[in-house]
Subunit: 344 residues, 2 copies
């Protein structure tokens, strides 16, 4: 049973919260009868006195928890590095957990971190997360929580993100600007907000340019362990489905590199047959041939910024000051490389 | 002042350890005078009764600490994934710290982990670590410690490694087998054991094949953040220094990919002009063109194995059983790809 609040006890007995509080603390100005009633109800409803809760809450462990969908991942490992570099400066240790894109695991891991009494939690959601109760519970328990990259808009906590919709719009507009007439999109999984936003940015750019939006040009990839393979598979499927596609905007660089590999194997010239834009600016994107035009997604900065915000909230809470929730949007840029630079 | 041991107290008073122990516990069969002397000396020498030490020691936090030189690193992020996947199964949380290849930071981080009372520590050493006192102190405090990949041979703890010397020997022998006559080596930094061992394996293969060992063919790279750039720079330098080199064995894949990029820019044909073997089998090695022959270094398995060993030691210690230290050597294989497959 979930412990009752003092307010609930007061309401049930039709007394004020302050009377209920005084009764529990055995103040002389409350009648014995009221005291007995409050004590009894508190026991029945499993009420835990706030003083204890406050003590537990204020005890710092100087550790924070971090949950990411995947550790072996160019973007998330940069975020992790940003977080631990900043945490180090402030004397915090970081417990890192990997949700493997699983909602169930993510939920379990949040519980583990709470049991461990971390001072705050940073999280980027699993693709499988469609229900946010486990996050709302963290917020309800007054534990500083900052989401980054893959967030849930409706959870009342600070967020550090990029403007995925705008970035995707820019990427698609760039393909249109270089002359692409039929542009496909390899999108991410269905649930994560950033994958939805990138898709919407793609779609909006098409419509703003009076181009048709054709759902059959949108391919899904889960973007987990198998990103590279998914890129290859989707690219081969695309070549079968649509012979006249001349541009693709792809959800992440690793998938894009898979697609480039498939095109190379099939003798498709990039960018002259098909121009390709990726997303994330993984350093390999500048190294491969042809080098990949992409959106620069600042992972290290995102990690640093997320920790800084969490740190502020931890400090505010310690001083019993109100926490000012923030939504911080980091800047992205399009980096043009060979995969969209047409030889004339 | 470092707390005295019971043994030191007994020696100073010229009594047996068991008498000193009994005196502190107020046993009736020890004289009042002896008890007073023992108590006084214990206080003077800052002796902490063992019972307390044992309590602290046995109190599990269900967390372990992990120190790696670098998080954004194909090999270490695989190791991290192996460790946290295994820790998850056993209900342990992993605090991850990054030493940035700095001895000073590594030392500080070990202290932080001890203060945090982790149940055990996994570490891969920074390139800057040449002194091992900080590690010996962990061992002296009876804290389970397992080193992996970059280890210090002389520290008395379990180790999970590959046979770097043999792997490097195999890589160099492969270059000799395909007909290379003058083989360079891009080695890692000077201190880490694995970088020394890879160099020694390279040298031994040359000598076993009656080929000259020429120190001017050995180039150093720090293999940190700048690996890719170092690979390019070293490759360009090599082309200036030695026009007749026809093979290179390179310490890690990322450096090797840098070298391949430089060769491509300079119009050097790989493998026909220069054959290249890397080390680690990062998945990008199979994707780039030409694909890279390399040594498969099992990062995920190394992480899993290191955690399993640490877990055994934590359990043994809890049961006051002796800890059996192990040196576990994981298998490596040479994976031949295009960068050493000569067209005939």
């Amino acid at each position: 049973m979930k412990p009752a609040t003092l307010k609930e006890i007061a309401q049930k007995l039709n007394i004020s919260v302050s009377t209920a509080s005084k009764a529990l603390k055995d103040y002389p100005d409350v009648s014995k009868k009221t005291k007995a009633l409050v004590h009894e109800l508190a026991k029945t409803l499993n009420y835990k006195p706030n003083s204890l809760a406050v003590n537990l809450r204020n005890k710092e462990t100087k550790t924070i928890g971090l949950i990411v969908p995947e550790v072996v991942h160019h973007f998330f490992s940069s975020v992790i590095k940003g977080i631990i570099s900043q945490a180090e400066k402030k004397g915090y240790l970081v417990i890192i957990l990997q949700s493997n894109e699983s909602y169930k695991l993510e939920k379990k891991q949040l519980n583990l971190l709470m049991q461990q009494r971390v001072d705050g939690i940073l999280i980027s959601l699993a693709n499988g997360t469609a229900d946010f109760m486990h996050l709302n519970e963290i917020v309800a328990q007054d534990k500083p929580l900052v989401m980054f990259d893959k967030i849930a808009k409706l959870v009342r906590c600070s967020k550090v993100i990029i403007d995925d919709r705008k970035a995707a719009y820019d990427a698609t507009q760039h393909l249109i600007d270089i002359g692409c007439k039929k542009i496909a999109h390899f999108r991410g999984a269905l649930l994560p907000q950033n994958s939805i936003d990138r898709f919407l940015g793609y779609k909006k750019a098409l419509l703003d340019n009076q181009m048709d939006y054709d759902p059959s040009l949108v391919y899904i990839c889960e973007c987990g362990d198998k990103s590279f393979e998914e890129g290859k598979t989707n690219a081969l499927q695309l070549l079968e489905d649509h012979t006249d596609v001349d541009g693709i905007f792809i959800n992440t660089d690793l998938v894009a590199i898979g697609a480039l590999t498939a095109f190379q194997e099939k003798g498709i010239q990039v960018p002259n047959d098909i121009a390709v834009v990726g997303f994330s600016n993984w350093f390999m994107s500048s190294v491969i041939s042809p080098s990949l035009t992409t959106i620069n997604q600042p992972g290290f900065l995102m990690g640093k910024t997320a920790f800084k915000q969490l740190y502020k909230e931890i400090k505010s809470k310690k001083k019993n000051k109100p926490i000012a929730l923030k939504e911080i949007i980091l800047q992205t840029d399009l980096i043009q490389r060979a995969s969209t630079t047409l030889s004339s």
